[in-house]
């Protein structure tokens, strides 16, 4: 082997280096996105979820019946005449009152998705701010704030919810308030834990040293770094919200007629399985299940993507 440098090769390398594009750095987010896209289950779930949302937005244009119109010729005869059919416009069949299940499922999808997203939204906003504040200030403030959370967590939330709904009457807004009130507790605990480890990092020290006020530090430095964890847990919260809402509808305390939700449709359908109208259960249950599945996979995928150690 020759020990003399190969000038040709070196010349070629120098030329390459000169003409090469500057290496584009990859941010952490792009890294995460890349990992996420490799997770087949998560990507499929995103597609499915998008389809469900599109369905709820565009579906109404194909509807032959509204969600409250009664088909007088079929009312009461769901078992014989009410099965799904393209011909009579009842794509998903009818319910026991002769109302079109297609439109009702669409409307129920809208309501349930809204409940899930808004509930999770409230949890994120309130929980993050509360937890970050407690974690950042530490000491007595943290102690008191977290004790409060502990106390609130030991109250069986269903009882509180029932009380709320009984006292203030049933309405969609009340439902949001009720669900939001309970959901932020878990989030605040998680955020506090994360804050404890972030606040010891150098960039926070630097901000403190330069005299940035505490709340600005929390909002501009700590919270953005929490986003990973928060997003993951938020996605896992949404199915929980939807399940809570369906449980409340099952108790009869949720959405009011003629509006409906997945929970209401499923509990109606569950009651009539023995009477030959199985589509009344299967259709809303199908949407319910695939949406929850999707949220689970997306949440898992996000967690794997954002923190590979935690797989």
């Amino acid at each position: 082997m020759s020990m003399v440098p190969n000038t040709d090769r070196i010349k070629r390398m120098a030329d390459n280096l000169a003409s090469m594009e500057p290496v584009k750095g990859r941010s952490l987010w792009q890294d995460a996105m890349h990992r996420f896209l490799q997770n087949k289950a998560a990507v499929t779930s995103v597609i499915v979820l998008t389809l469900v949302v599109l369905f709820s937005l565009i579906g109404p244009y194909f509807a032959v019946w509204t969600n409250e119109e009664i088909d007088w010729s079929r009312i009461g005869k769901a078992a014989e005449l009410g099965a799904p059919s393209i011909a009579n416009g009842h794509f998903f069949g009818i319910d026991n009152l002769g109302r079109d299940l297609y439109s009702r499922v669409i409307q129920g999808t809208q309501v349930s998705l809204m409940v899930g997203l808004i509930g999770a939204g409230i949890a994120v906003i309130v929980g993050t701010l509360y937890g970050a504040t407690a974690g950042y200030f530490g000491g007595r403030v943290d102690s008191v704030m977290m004790r409060l959370v502990d106390i609130l967590m030991s109250i069986p939330y269903m009882f509180v919810l029932i009380l709320l709904l009984v006292v203030f009457g049933r309405s969609l807004q009340m439902l949001f308030v009720g669900i939001g009130l309970i959901s932020w507790l878990d989030m605040s605990r998680i955020v506090r834990g994360q804050t404890l480890s972030i606040k010891n990092k150098e960039f926070v020290e630097a901000a403190v040293a330069t005299g940035v006020p505490s709340f600005t530090i929390i909002v501009r430095h700590i919270v953005p770094n929490l986003m990973g964890v928060v997003v993951v847990y938020a996605t896992l919260l949404v199915p929980g919200m939807i399940i809570t809402e369906s449980f409340i509808s099952f108790l009869g305390l949720g959405v009011q007629e003629p509006n409906t939700s997945w929970g209401a449709l499923i509990s109606e359908g569950a009651g009539t399985i023995a009477y030959g109208t199985i589509w009344q259960l299967l259709v809303p249950l199908f949407f319910f299940v695939i949406t929850l599945f999707s949220f689970f996979f997306i949440g898992d995928g996000l967690r794997d993507a954002l923190d590979p150690k935690d797989r």
């Binding site: 502990d150 967590m153 030991s154 069986p156 009380l163 108790l251 399985i273």
Partner: protein, 307 residues
């Protein structure tokens, strides 16, 4: 450890107090009272009833009397709806029911969940793993108010194997379906948590060391991996317990077991104030005690945590 328990109990008292005050106020805010009925009572009779139950006094006086009664005599008052029974009677009747099937649901959820999750982790990426993950996600999305009627239809009507409901003193035939319906979704969550936790533990350094030292697989898992795996599972147990308490409402409604959950909903709807309060306090206390036990368990397993 003793000082930890004392500290926790010390916090429990103000917690319960806040719970009582909150629930009491909420209930009295609700329209309608226990004696609102379709056939209105003659005024003197109504006045008498209200005096008998102390409803004619201002709310804070009632609350004070109520708390005093509990503290001094453990007396939760008379039931407004069941005229010949006290709250203590009502709760003593329903609580053992909920406790029994709740306990068994817990055992099943933890037992089956941990086993399933551990098996999935140990045989990672095999068909067992995919099956376990599939089952657990599937079980998690089926709400128990859908499972309950399906169970009754299949096992009682079509197969004729089990009675369709009731309690009958808690014989095993009456326990099976409630336990299945209640434990399923928690079993699923526990399985998933166990699986991901054990995967992490199995990939950690100290396990690698143990393998390098030549320890057998089963010894590694049981003696070394299990304890740290259980940490996230144990922190989940608290919320799982609370969830089972609320889920018991559905179980009671479908299987007519006569437990506390159904009693609570019924008493809320009929404004039976004292029963509502009694159950709320009972459940709140249970949750507090349970969380305390969970924390102790956590500290026992994780030597880094000192109580």
């Amino acid at each position: 450890m003793l000082s930890f328990i004392i500290r926790r109990l010390g916090i429990a008292i103000p917690t319960l107090l806040i719970l009582v005050i909150f629930s009491f106020s909420m209930m009295h805010l609700a329209p309608g009272g226990p004696f609102t009925s379709e056939r209105p009572l003659p005024p003197q009779v109504l006045a008498n009833i209200e005096a008998k139950y102390g409803l004619d006094q201002p709310v804070y006086v009632q609350m004070g009397n109520y708390i005093w009664g509990i503290v001094t005599e453990f007396d939760f008052g008379p039931s407004f709806r069941f005229k010949d029974r006290t709250v203590n009677d009502v709760i003593a009747q329903g609580f053992p029911v909920t406790l029994t099937y709740g306990f068994w649901s817990f055992v099943v959820a933890v037992g089956v969940g941990v086993t399933l999750g551990a098996a999935a982790a140990i045989y990672h990426n095999s068909w067992l793993d995919y099956l376990a993950v599939g089952i657990s996600i599937g079980a998690q999305v089926l709400p128990n108010f859908v499972m309950a009627p399906i169970l009754v239809l299949t096992l009682t009507l079509w197969l004729g194997l089990l009675p369709g409901g009731g309690w009958n003193g808690g014989q095993w035939q009456y326990l099976i379906m409630p336990v299945i319906a209640l434990s399923t979704s928690y079993m699923a969550s526990i399985a998933r948590i166990t699986r991901s936790s054990m995967l992490e533990v199995l990939n950690s350094n100290f396990i690698r060391t143990a393998r390098a030292k030549g320890l057998s697989n089963s010894r590694i898992i049981i003696k070394h991996a299990l304890k740290p795996t259980m940490l996230p599972v144990i922190s989940y147990l608290g919320p799982a317990f609370v969830g089972m308490v609320t889920g018991s409402v559905v179980i009671d409604l479908y299987f007519s077991t006569g437990g506390i959950g159904q009693m609570f909903v019924n008493s809320a709807l009929s404004r039976d104030y004292s029963v509502m309060m009694g159950i709320t306090i009972l459940m709140g206390s249970l949750v507090i005690i349970f969380n305390m036990i969970v924390d102790i368990l956590y500290a026992w397993i994780d030597p880094k945590i000192r109580l």
